[in-house]
Symmetry: C2
Subunit: 328 residues, 2 copies
């Protein structure tokens, strides 16, 4: 079975029109979240499933499109409404394809690190809607500030709730308002910052049940690993200190070149990697070198001989089942 842990919602324009209205109105006279007609959502669901069928994906975990999450916006009420609307739409898609989709909740985060709305929304999504995980934006300031990094105490309330509900998180940055960096590049920056902060913290000692997956193959960290090995040795760790610390985390395979995907698997190990493609998304464009789209990663992993059947099973299904324990 092939489980893709990194997918995003396909929704009709009605959903994104609501975001536009929220931004234009700042929430004034907005009473609640929109309803999307089932038939309209079904069109999106069918088109999305056809893509999954085309590449042989059996199940995909879907979350809101991160770059549009607008965690930096004020008042926070519009963020709450918007993220709730996304999660509603995900639940609707999951109900239309219960054997194919599982929900991963967006959280209405904010720069103040006030978790009240997020914890409530996470509980709603997991307990009422049957979601199996959540998305964490490590930078709710979206490139224009200095919010606490993921190893810091300000994050503990979320980790407590995640452990209580037994749900993992996919660390996936959202928008970027700093003109120096495109949002898709900011993802890589912030994933790297999140990894360093977590592995240099005592978060996993405080929350032994916490499960964190880093998107896009771990940002820059696996490639720059020699640097961090040396740095750990300088700080008194042994040679494998950084590698061992990295094994507290999981990584997805959303790397669209075969060479870097194999490199990731070698560096962090097949037991820490989960199949992810983000289909349809950033990689849904043709790679003439392979004759497939960049995000068609199943054949890439099948072609890595040294993985063996066991390694492939871990990446395609086993690790996802270990980590996303609520996955049926």
């Amino acid at each position: 079975m092939i489980i893709d842990i990194h997918g995003h919602l396909s929704a009709p324009p009605e959903l994104y029109a609501f975001r536009s209205t929220l931004l234009a109105s700042r929430g004034f006279q907005i009473k609640g979240r929109p309803t999307i007609a089932d038939a309209r959502m079904q069109e999106e669901t069918d088109a999305h499933l056809a893509l999954l069928d085309g590449v042989g994906t059996d199940r995909q975990l879907i979350s809101p499109r991160p770059y549009a999450l607008m965690h930096d916006q004020k008042p926070t009420r519009i963020v709450d409404l918007w993220v709730g609307a996304n999660n509603d739409a995900i639940a609707q898609a999951c109900a239309q394809a219960p054997d194919r989709f599982s929900g991963v909740a967006g959280l209405p985060q904010n720069v103040e690190m006030n978790w009240t709305a997020s914890l409530k929304e996470l509980e709603r999504c997991v307990v009422e809607l049957g979601f199996v995980g959540c998305l964490i934006n490590p930078d709710p300031a979206e490139g224009l500030g200095s919010p606490p990094t993921m190893g810091e105490e300000a994050w503990y309330p979320l980790y407590e709730k995640m452990c209580e509900l037994d749900v993992p998180a996919l660390v996936h940055p959202a928008g970027c308002q700093n003109e120096r960096e495109a949002y898709g590049a900011h993802f890589i920056t912030e994933e790297s910052i999140a990894i360093h902060s977590l592995v240099n913290s005592d978060v996993f000692e405080r929350f032994p049940e916490l499960k964190i997956v880093i998107a896009h193959g771990g940002g820059s960290v696996p490639y720059q690993i020699g640097r961090w090995r040396a740095s750990a040795v300088r700080m008194g760790a042994d040679r494998d200190g950084f590698d061992n610390a990295l094994r507290k985390l999981y990584f997805d395979t959303v790397l669209y070149s075969p060479e870097s995907l194999e490199y990731l698997l070698r560096v962090v190990g097949p037991d820490r990697c989960m199949f992810g493609t983000e289909l349809p998304g950033f990689g849904s464009y043709p790679d003439t070198a392979t004759g497939r789209n960049f995000d068609d990663l199943k054949p890439v992993i099948e072609d890595i001989d040294w993985l063996g059947d066991e390694g492939r099973q871990q990446v395609f299904e086993g690790n996802a089942r270990t980590v996303f324990t609520r996955l049926k």
Copy 2:
């Protein structure tokens, strides 16, 4: 011959005490730059050369220690004095070991992108002191702002002067004042931002003679290359559009794991890579897996069979001579 294009000055505490004085005084009643006694500098030079001898490096290009460059500090006069003092000390070290060291100038950059002092200092270093290149900090705001990225017009005055003097630049970020990111991680972030900005600009059409080397193996970009290939295809380029654009740049080999160093060479090609170690520096700690220090990269490159004699010659010497044309 082995040329290491990424080294930094080894100087006695007298130099760094001057920085401390500048910061404490903000330049008040500081008349000029300090003089370091030749004998004191000779001790540093001898110790540094012993390290180069130990790993078989024939010549090293040395620049100021980037993380201490303090480009964000005010008044700009203290930055001018400090960078000038560093370049003086580099000239002193080069005079003590003319067959081993070549100078790479630090520039007194500032967030306002006023280039007057930098252009004057670059000319002094190249014409009067015989330096062969310069260091560029792509983020003079040091993590707390939004200065123009390297593809933007604000950088053109520097590029003009570099072309006029026929000197390349090593893009090497400096300090980081944003607590979210250690300076050594900010290097990787900013190198990646610089690459994206340059390859998406017309800088190399405007300045066909411009030569830019990206430090630390290109930040995150080679590892995440599939992402940028897909993104380029989305924007209308062909499949190799991003790879071709990347070949406008050069990269050093300051990657302290053999796997990532080989990966870099495969992705960007041996004709775009230059031997660099930063010895002594971030990687000068023992790697028990190899029995050598992390930054002892000559044996790593020698062990890559597919490079062949031609590829190794390019990396160790040929590319450096092509790019750093003032190197005797």
